[in-house]
Assembly symmetry: C2
Protein backbone atom coordinates (compact mmCIF):
# COMPACT_ATOMS: atom_id res chain seq x y z
CA UNK A 1 0.00 0.00 0.00
CA UNK A 2 1.34 3.43 -0.82
CA UNK A 3 1.81 5.94 2.01
CA UNK A 4 0.88 9.53 2.83
CA UNK A 5 2.80 11.84 5.13
CA UNK A 6 2.50 15.49 6.13
CA UNK A 7 5.38 17.93 6.55
CA UNK A 8 3.77 20.61 8.75
CA UNK A 9 6.52 23.18 8.12
CA UNK A 10 9.02 23.63 5.26
CA UNK A 11 11.69 23.77 8.01
CA UNK A 12 11.16 20.01 8.52
CA UNK A 13 11.49 18.98 4.89
CA UNK A 14 15.05 17.68 5.33
CA UNK A 15 13.53 14.84 7.40
CA UNK A 16 11.73 13.47 4.35
CA UNK A 17 13.07 11.74 1.26
CA UNK A 18 11.02 13.41 -1.47
CA UNK A 19 12.84 11.85 -4.43
CA UNK A 20 10.25 9.08 -4.89
CA UNK A 21 7.22 11.11 -3.82
CA UNK A 22 4.49 13.26 -5.23
CA UNK A 23 4.58 16.42 -3.12
CA UNK A 24 1.47 18.56 -2.71
CA UNK A 25 2.46 22.10 -1.69
CA UNK A 26 -0.22 24.06 0.14
CA UNK A 27 -0.44 27.68 1.25
CA UNK A 28 -4.18 28.19 1.75
CA UNK A 29 -3.94 31.89 2.70
CA UNK A 30 -3.31 32.63 -0.08
CA UNK A 31 -0.54 31.65 -2.51
CA UNK A 32 -1.70 28.24 -3.68
CA UNK A 33 -5.36 29.36 -3.65
CA UNK A 34 -4.35 32.18 -6.02
CA UNK A 35 -2.38 29.84 -8.26
CA UNK A 36 -5.26 27.38 -8.60
CA UNK A 37 -7.69 30.25 -9.29
CA UNK A 38 -5.36 31.69 -11.92
CA UNK A 39 -5.06 28.39 -13.80
CA UNK A 40 -8.83 27.91 -13.62
CA UNK A 41 -9.10 31.25 -15.44
CA UNK A 42 -6.69 30.42 -18.22
CA UNK A 43 -3.23 31.53 -17.08
CA UNK A 44 -0.62 29.84 -19.28
CA UNK A 45 2.12 29.41 -16.68
CA UNK A 46 3.34 30.63 -13.29
CA UNK A 47 6.99 30.77 -12.28
CA UNK A 48 7.20 30.58 -8.48
CA UNK A 49 10.18 32.59 -7.21
CA UNK A 50 11.30 32.73 -3.59
CA UNK A 51 13.33 35.92 -3.96
CA UNK A 52 11.52 39.25 -4.33
CA UNK A 53 14.12 41.03 -6.48
CA UNK A 54 14.54 38.06 -8.79
CA UNK A 55 10.78 38.05 -9.27
CA UNK A 56 10.76 41.77 -10.05
CA UNK A 57 13.39 41.29 -12.79
CA UNK A 58 11.04 38.89 -14.60
CA UNK A 59 9.01 41.94 -15.64
CA UNK A 60 11.74 42.69 -18.20
CA UNK A 61 11.16 39.26 -19.74
CA UNK A 62 7.48 39.99 -20.31
CA UNK A 63 6.05 38.37 -17.23
CA UNK A 64 3.23 39.80 -15.16
CA UNK A 65 4.78 40.04 -11.68
CA UNK A 66 2.79 39.09 -8.61
CA UNK A 67 4.15 39.55 -5.12
CA UNK A 68 3.17 39.54 -1.50
CA UNK A 69 5.13 40.01 1.71
CA UNK A 70 3.58 39.84 5.19
CA UNK A 71 0.08 39.62 3.76
CA UNK A 72 0.31 42.72 1.54
CA UNK A 73 0.98 43.35 -2.16
CA UNK A 74 4.58 44.35 -2.86
CA UNK A 75 4.66 48.02 -4.03
CA UNK A 76 5.30 48.26 -7.77
CA UNK A 77 4.17 44.70 -8.52
CA UNK A 78 1.29 44.11 -10.97
CA UNK A 79 -0.72 41.88 -8.69
CA UNK A 80 -0.89 40.80 -5.07
CA UNK A 81 -2.11 37.71 -3.29
CA UNK A 82 -5.90 37.83 -3.47
CA UNK A 83 -7.60 35.09 -5.51
CA UNK A 84 -10.06 37.72 -6.77
CA UNK A 85 -7.19 39.35 -8.69
CA UNK A 86 -6.85 36.17 -10.74
CA UNK A 87 -10.42 35.84 -12.00
CA UNK A 88 -10.90 38.46 -14.66
CA UNK A 89 -10.88 37.75 -18.40
CA UNK A 90 -7.55 39.51 -18.97
CA UNK A 91 -5.79 36.75 -17.05
CA UNK A 92 -6.26 34.34 -19.97
CA UNK A 93 -2.95 33.30 -21.55
CA UNK A 94 -0.75 35.31 -19.18
CA UNK A 95 2.64 34.21 -17.91
CA UNK A 96 3.09 35.17 -14.27
CA UNK A 97 6.14 35.35 -11.99
CA UNK A 98 4.93 34.94 -8.42
CA UNK A 99 6.66 35.51 -5.06
CA UNK A 100 5.04 35.19 -1.61
CA UNK A 101 6.12 35.10 2.05
CA UNK A 102 5.63 31.38 2.51
CA UNK A 103 4.11 29.58 -0.48
CA UNK A 104 6.85 30.10 -3.05
CA UNK A 105 9.49 29.27 -0.42
CA UNK A 106 7.73 25.96 0.25
CA UNK A 107 7.76 25.15 -3.47
CA UNK A 108 11.48 26.01 -3.64
CA UNK A 109 12.25 23.68 -0.71
CA UNK A 110 10.24 20.85 -2.28
CA UNK A 111 12.39 20.77 -5.41
CA UNK A 112 13.93 17.34 -5.83
CA UNK A 113 10.55 15.64 -5.47
CA UNK A 114 9.43 13.21 -8.16
CA UNK A 115 6.47 15.49 -8.83
CA UNK A 116 5.21 18.75 -7.30
CA UNK A 117 1.51 19.64 -7.36
CA UNK A 118 -0.28 22.74 -6.09
CA UNK A 119 -3.09 22.08 -3.64
CA UNK A 120 -5.82 24.19 -2.05
CA UNK A 121 -9.37 23.66 -0.84
CA UNK A 122 -10.43 25.08 -4.21
CA UNK A 123 -9.12 21.98 -6.05
CA UNK A 124 -9.26 19.47 -3.16
CA UNK A 125 -11.27 16.75 -4.92
CA UNK A 126 -9.29 17.07 -8.16
CA UNK A 127 -6.03 16.56 -6.25
CA UNK A 128 -7.49 13.71 -4.23
CA UNK A 129 -8.72 11.85 -7.32
CA UNK A 130 -5.36 12.24 -9.01
CA UNK A 131 -3.44 10.97 -5.96
CA UNK A 132 -5.71 7.93 -5.66
CA UNK A 133 -4.84 6.93 -9.22
CA UNK A 134 -1.12 7.59 -8.94
CA UNK A 135 1.30 4.91 -7.69
CA UNK A 136 3.58 7.35 -5.86
CA UNK A 137 3.90 7.84 -2.14
CA UNK A 138 2.57 11.24 -1.11
CA UNK A 139 3.94 14.09 0.99
CA UNK A 140 1.83 17.16 1.75
CA UNK A 141 4.11 20.14 2.41
CA UNK A 142 2.44 22.90 4.41
CA UNK A 143 3.86 26.37 3.78
CA UNK A 144 3.10 27.52 7.34
CA UNK A 145 4.02 31.01 8.52
CA UNK A 146 7.73 31.86 8.45
CA UNK A 147 8.65 28.31 9.41
CA UNK A 148 6.00 27.83 12.09
CA UNK A 149 3.01 25.62 11.51
CA UNK A 150 -0.36 27.22 10.84
CA UNK A 151 -3.95 26.10 11.25
CA UNK A 152 -5.20 26.58 7.71
CA UNK A 153 -2.51 24.58 5.92
CA UNK A 154 -2.70 21.85 8.58
CA UNK A 155 -6.49 21.74 8.04
CA UNK A 156 -6.06 21.26 4.30
CA UNK A 157 -3.57 18.46 4.95
CA UNK A 158 -6.12 16.86 7.27
CA UNK A 159 -8.90 17.18 4.70
CA UNK A 160 -6.75 15.48 2.06
CA UNK A 161 -5.65 12.73 4.46
CA UNK A 162 -9.30 12.21 5.40
CA UNK A 163 -10.24 11.72 1.74
CA UNK A 164 -7.40 9.26 1.11
CA UNK A 165 -7.05 7.41 4.40
CA UNK A 166 -9.13 4.39 3.45
CA UNK A 167 -6.82 3.67 0.57
CA UNK A 168 -3.46 5.05 1.66
CA UNK A 169 -1.49 4.29 4.82
CA UNK A 170 -0.29 7.20 7.02
CA UNK A 171 3.49 7.06 7.22
CA UNK A 172 3.91 8.75 10.61
CA UNK A 173 1.94 10.75 13.22
CA UNK A 174 1.62 14.09 11.42
CA UNK A 175 -1.16 12.83 9.07
CA UNK A 176 -3.11 11.65 12.15
CA UNK A 177 -2.70 15.03 13.86
CA UNK A 178 -3.83 16.87 10.72
CA UNK A 179 -6.81 14.57 10.18
CA UNK A 180 -8.05 14.97 13.78
CA UNK A 181 -7.75 18.71 13.42
CA UNK A 182 -9.82 18.64 10.23
CA UNK A 183 -12.50 16.42 11.78
CA UNK A 184 -12.83 18.89 14.67
CA UNK A 185 -13.08 21.86 12.28
CA UNK A 186 -14.89 20.65 9.18
CA UNK A 187 -18.42 21.74 10.13
CA UNK A 188 -17.40 25.39 10.35
CA UNK A 189 -13.84 25.95 9.22
CA UNK A 190 -14.24 29.72 9.09
CA UNK A 191 -15.26 29.90 12.76
CA UNK A 192 -12.55 27.41 13.68
CA UNK A 193 -9.93 29.51 11.93
CA UNK A 194 -11.01 32.75 13.58
CA UNK A 195 -8.63 31.92 16.46
CA UNK A 196 -5.68 31.43 14.10
CA UNK A 197 -2.81 33.89 14.27
CA UNK A 198 -2.63 34.28 10.50
CA UNK A 199 -6.36 34.89 10.14
CA UNK A 200 -6.13 37.56 12.86
CA UNK A 201 -3.28 39.11 10.89
CA UNK A 202 -5.27 38.98 7.65
CA UNK A 203 -8.46 40.27 9.26
CA UNK A 204 -6.54 43.40 10.09
CA UNK A 205 -5.98 43.74 6.34
CA UNK A 206 -9.72 43.46 5.64
CA UNK A 207 -9.74 40.37 3.52
CA UNK A 208 -12.60 38.39 5.08
CA UNK A 209 -13.93 37.68 1.58
CA UNK A 210 -10.57 36.12 0.56
CA UNK A 211 -10.46 33.91 3.64
CA UNK A 212 -13.98 32.64 3.16
CA UNK A 213 -13.33 31.90 -0.54
CA UNK A 214 -10.02 30.12 0.14
CA UNK A 215 -11.80 27.70 2.51
CA UNK A 216 -14.42 26.69 -0.08
CA UNK A 217 -13.79 23.19 -1.43
CA UNK A 218 -13.98 22.18 -5.05
CA UNK A 219 -14.50 25.38 -6.96
CA UNK A 220 -12.10 24.29 -9.68
CA UNK A 221 -10.82 21.07 -11.18
CA UNK A 222 -7.37 22.19 -12.29
CA UNK A 223 -4.12 20.74 -10.93
CA UNK A 224 -1.06 22.96 -11.39
CA UNK A 225 2.19 20.99 -11.58
CA UNK A 226 5.82 22.12 -11.51
CA UNK A 227 7.94 21.25 -14.55
CA UNK A 228 11.37 22.74 -15.15
CA UNK A 229 10.78 25.48 -12.59
CA UNK A 230 7.43 26.49 -14.07
CA UNK A 231 3.88 25.68 -13.02
CA UNK A 232 1.59 24.49 -15.78
CA UNK A 233 -1.61 22.49 -15.88
CA UNK A 234 -1.02 18.80 -15.32
CA UNK B 1 -0.89 38.77 29.48
CA UNK B 2 1.90 36.24 29.27
CA UNK B 3 1.96 33.85 26.31
CA UNK B 4 2.24 30.12 25.65
CA UNK B 5 3.62 28.53 22.52
CA UNK B 6 4.34 24.97 21.40
CA UNK B 7 7.40 23.81 19.45
CA UNK B 8 6.16 20.52 18.00
CA UNK B 9 9.64 19.31 17.02
CA UNK B 10 13.13 20.16 18.36
CA UNK B 11 14.05 20.80 14.70
CA UNK B 12 11.92 23.97 14.85
CA UNK B 13 13.45 25.41 18.01
CA UNK B 14 15.59 27.94 16.13
CA UNK B 15 12.32 29.74 15.28
CA UNK B 16 11.74 30.60 18.94
CA UNK B 17 13.56 33.02 21.21
CA UNK B 18 13.82 30.97 24.40
CA UNK B 19 16.02 33.40 26.34
CA UNK B 20 13.10 34.97 28.20
CA UNK B 21 10.98 31.82 28.44
CA UNK B 22 10.28 28.92 30.74
CA UNK B 23 10.62 25.86 28.52
CA UNK B 24 8.78 22.64 29.36
CA UNK B 25 10.48 19.70 27.66
CA UNK B 26 8.27 16.67 27.09
CA UNK B 27 9.00 13.16 25.85
CA UNK B 28 6.00 11.19 27.09
CA UNK B 29 7.20 7.80 25.77
CA UNK B 30 9.26 7.65 27.86
CA UNK B 31 12.21 9.86 28.84
CA UNK B 32 10.48 12.65 30.73
CA UNK B 33 7.99 10.21 32.27
CA UNK B 34 10.98 8.25 33.63
CA UNK B 35 12.67 11.39 34.94
CA UNK B 36 9.57 12.54 36.80
CA UNK B 37 9.07 9.04 38.24
CA UNK B 38 12.71 8.90 39.36
CA UNK B 39 12.50 12.23 41.20
CA UNK B 40 9.23 11.19 42.83
CA UNK B 41 11.15 8.19 44.22
CA UNK B 42 14.03 10.20 45.64
CA UNK B 43 16.70 10.40 42.95
CA UNK B 44 19.13 13.19 43.83
CA UNK B 45 19.96 14.40 40.32
CA UNK B 46 19.85 13.42 36.66
CA UNK B 47 22.35 14.61 34.07
CA UNK B 48 20.69 14.49 30.65
CA UNK B 49 23.26 13.68 27.96
CA UNK B 50 22.55 13.62 24.25
CA UNK B 51 25.62 11.52 23.32
CA UNK B 52 25.63 7.80 24.15
CA UNK B 53 29.38 7.40 24.69
CA UNK B 54 29.63 10.52 26.81
CA UNK B 55 26.85 9.11 28.98
CA UNK B 56 28.63 5.77 29.29
CA UNK B 57 31.79 7.50 30.54
CA UNK B 58 29.82 8.99 33.48
CA UNK B 59 29.87 5.50 35.01
CA UNK B 60 33.51 6.16 35.96
CA UNK B 61 32.42 9.21 37.92
CA UNK B 62 30.01 7.18 40.05
CA UNK B 63 26.83 7.80 38.12
CA UNK B 64 24.19 5.17 37.45
CA UNK B 65 23.93 5.19 33.66
CA UNK B 66 20.55 4.99 31.95
CA UNK B 67 20.24 4.73 28.22
CA UNK B 68 17.78 4.01 25.46
CA UNK B 69 18.06 4.01 21.68
CA UNK B 70 15.16 3.21 19.35
CA UNK B 71 12.94 2.18 22.24
CA UNK B 72 15.35 -0.34 23.77
CA UNK B 73 17.82 -0.28 26.68
CA UNK B 74 21.42 0.29 25.53
CA UNK B 75 23.45 -2.91 26.18
CA UNK B 76 25.78 -2.50 29.15
CA UNK B 77 23.82 0.38 30.69
CA UNK B 78 22.41 0.05 34.23
CA UNK B 79 18.89 1.05 33.36
CA UNK B 80 16.68 1.60 30.34
CA UNK B 81 13.68 3.78 29.62
CA UNK B 82 10.77 2.21 31.52
CA UNK B 83 9.29 4.25 34.39
CA UNK B 84 8.95 1.01 36.36
CA UNK B 85 12.76 0.85 36.58
CA UNK B 86 12.70 4.10 38.55
CA UNK B 87 10.31 3.15 41.31
CA UNK B 88 12.17 0.82 43.64
CA UNK B 89 13.63 1.86 47.00
CA UNK B 90 17.24 1.60 45.79
CA UNK B 91 16.68 4.63 43.59
CA UNK B 92 16.70 6.96 46.60
CA UNK B 93 19.67 9.35 46.60
CA UNK B 94 21.11 8.14 43.28
CA UNK B 95 22.82 10.33 40.71
CA UNK B 96 21.87 9.26 37.20
CA UNK B 97 23.32 10.04 33.77
CA UNK B 98 20.56 9.59 31.20
CA UNK B 99 20.63 9.41 27.38
CA UNK B 100 17.63 8.72 25.12
CA UNK B 101 16.77 8.86 21.41
CA UNK B 102 14.71 12.03 21.59
CA UNK B 103 14.17 13.39 25.11
CA UNK B 104 17.72 14.24 26.06
CA UNK B 105 18.31 15.75 22.63
CA UNK B 106 15.30 18.03 23.16
CA UNK B 107 16.73 19.16 26.51
CA UNK B 108 20.09 19.84 24.85
CA UNK B 109 18.46 21.97 22.14
CA UNK B 110 16.47 23.94 24.73
CA UNK B 111 19.60 25.16 26.52
CA UNK B 112 19.68 28.96 26.54
CA UNK B 113 16.15 29.14 27.93
CA UNK B 114 15.55 31.21 31.06
CA UNK B 115 14.39 28.03 32.79
CA UNK B 116 13.93 24.40 31.68
CA UNK B 117 11.37 22.15 33.34
CA UNK B 118 10.57 18.49 32.74
CA UNK B 119 6.93 17.73 31.93
CA UNK B 120 4.85 14.57 31.58
CA UNK B 121 1.27 13.56 32.20
CA UNK B 122 2.52 12.18 35.53
CA UNK B 123 3.20 15.72 36.84
CA UNK B 124 0.79 17.67 34.61
CA UNK B 125 -1.07 19.55 37.36
CA UNK B 126 2.11 20.36 39.28
CA UNK B 127 3.64 21.91 36.15
CA UNK B 128 0.44 23.73 35.31
CA UNK B 129 0.13 25.27 38.79
CA UNK B 130 3.76 26.40 38.70
CA UNK B 131 3.39 28.01 35.26
CA UNK B 132 0.27 29.88 36.32
CA UNK B 133 2.18 31.49 39.17
CA UNK B 134 5.29 32.31 37.13
CA UNK B 135 5.60 35.57 35.19
CA UNK B 136 7.53 34.05 32.30
CA UNK B 137 6.27 33.35 28.81
CA UNK B 138 6.07 29.62 28.18
CA UNK B 139 7.31 27.34 25.40
CA UNK B 140 6.48 23.62 25.41
CA UNK B 141 9.16 21.71 23.48
CA UNK B 142 7.99 18.34 22.21
CA UNK B 143 10.75 15.78 21.76
CA UNK B 144 8.95 14.08 18.86
CA UNK B 145 10.52 11.13 17.06
CA UNK B 146 13.84 11.81 15.34
CA UNK B 147 12.76 15.31 14.41
CA UNK B 148 9.23 14.44 13.30
CA UNK B 149 6.24 15.34 15.43
CA UNK B 150 4.48 12.64 17.40
CA UNK B 151 1.00 12.22 18.80
CA UNK B 152 1.81 11.66 22.47
CA UNK B 153 4.01 14.72 23.00
CA UNK B 154 1.56 16.88 21.00
CA UNK B 155 -1.25 15.54 23.23
CA UNK B 156 0.61 16.53 26.38
CA UNK B 157 1.21 20.00 24.94
CA UNK B 158 -2.51 20.22 24.22
CA UNK B 159 -3.42 19.11 27.74
CA UNK B 160 -1.16 21.77 29.25
CA UNK B 161 -2.47 24.48 26.90
CA UNK B 162 -6.01 23.42 27.80
CA UNK B 163 -5.27 23.87 31.51
CA UNK B 164 -3.68 27.30 31.01
CA UNK B 165 -5.64 28.80 28.12
CA UNK B 166 -8.06 30.86 30.21
CA UNK B 167 -5.15 32.71 31.77
CA UNK B 168 -2.44 32.63 29.12
CA UNK B 169 -2.62 33.78 25.51
CA UNK B 170 -1.52 31.35 22.74
CA UNK B 171 1.35 32.95 20.82
CA UNK B 172 0.79 31.22 17.48
CA UNK B 173 -1.20 28.38 15.89
CA UNK B 174 0.67 25.36 17.29
CA UNK B 175 -0.96 25.66 20.76
CA UNK B 176 -4.38 25.67 19.07
CA UNK B 177 -3.52 22.57 17.02
CA UNK B 178 -2.28 20.76 20.14
CA UNK B 179 -5.29 21.75 22.21
CA UNK B 180 -7.77 20.55 19.56
CA UNK B 181 -5.91 17.27 19.36
CA UNK B 182 -6.12 16.85 23.14
CA UNK B 183 -9.83 17.69 23.22
CA UNK B 184 -10.47 15.00 20.58
CA UNK B 185 -8.40 12.43 22.50
CA UNK B 186 -8.90 13.13 26.18
CA UNK B 187 -11.71 10.67 26.86
CA UNK B 188 -9.58 7.70 25.81
CA UNK B 189 -6.00 8.68 25.13
CA UNK B 190 -4.79 5.10 25.05
CA UNK B 191 -7.21 4.17 22.28
CA UNK B 192 -6.46 7.42 20.46
CA UNK B 193 -2.74 6.70 20.59
CA UNK B 194 -3.09 3.15 19.31
CA UNK B 195 -2.84 4.53 15.76
CA UNK B 196 0.40 6.37 16.54
CA UNK B 197 3.56 5.26 14.82
CA UNK B 198 5.59 5.35 18.04
CA UNK B 199 3.03 3.34 20.01
CA UNK B 200 3.01 0.74 17.24
CA UNK B 201 6.80 0.61 17.52
CA UNK B 202 6.66 0.28 21.31
CA UNK B 203 3.87 -2.31 21.23
CA UNK B 204 6.23 -4.52 19.28
CA UNK B 205 8.55 -4.22 22.31
CA UNK B 206 5.75 -5.35 24.66
CA UNK B 207 5.51 -2.33 26.86
CA UNK B 208 1.74 -1.79 27.00
CA UNK B 209 2.00 -1.29 30.76
CA UNK B 210 4.54 1.54 30.29
CA UNK B 211 2.35 3.29 27.73
CA UNK B 212 -0.73 3.13 29.90
CA UNK B 213 1.18 4.45 32.95
CA UNK B 214 2.83 7.29 31.00
CA UNK B 215 -0.63 8.57 29.97
CA UNK B 216 -1.94 8.74 33.55
CA UNK B 217 -2.19 12.32 34.80
CA UNK B 218 -1.06 13.55 38.20
CA UNK B 219 0.66 10.61 39.79
CA UNK B 220 3.40 12.81 41.20
CA UNK B 221 3.85 16.40 42.26
CA UNK B 222 7.54 16.85 41.51
CA UNK B 223 8.94 19.30 38.98
CA UNK B 224 12.47 18.52 37.75
CA UNK B 225 14.36 21.61 36.62
CA UNK B 226 17.68 21.99 34.78
CA UNK B 227 20.42 23.92 36.56
CA UNK B 228 24.03 23.96 35.38
CA UNK B 229 23.44 20.95 33.14
CA UNK B 230 21.86 18.86 35.87
CA UNK B 231 18.21 18.12 36.65
CA UNK B 232 17.19 18.59 40.28
CA UNK B 233 13.90 19.18 42.01
CA UNK B 234 12.66 22.73 41.61
Amino acid sequence: MKTIDVCLSPELIHLYDVSDKTVVVVDILRATSCMVTAFAHGVESIVPIADEEECERMKLQGYVISGERNGQKIPGFDKGNSPFEYMDEHINGLKIAFTTTNGTQAIEKSKGAKQILIGSFLNLSAISRYLLMSDDNILIVCAGWKGKINLEDSLFAGALVDKLRKHIEPDCDAPLVAQELYLAAKDDMLKFLSASSHVKRLNRLNIHKDISFCLTPDQYHVIPSLKKGELRLL
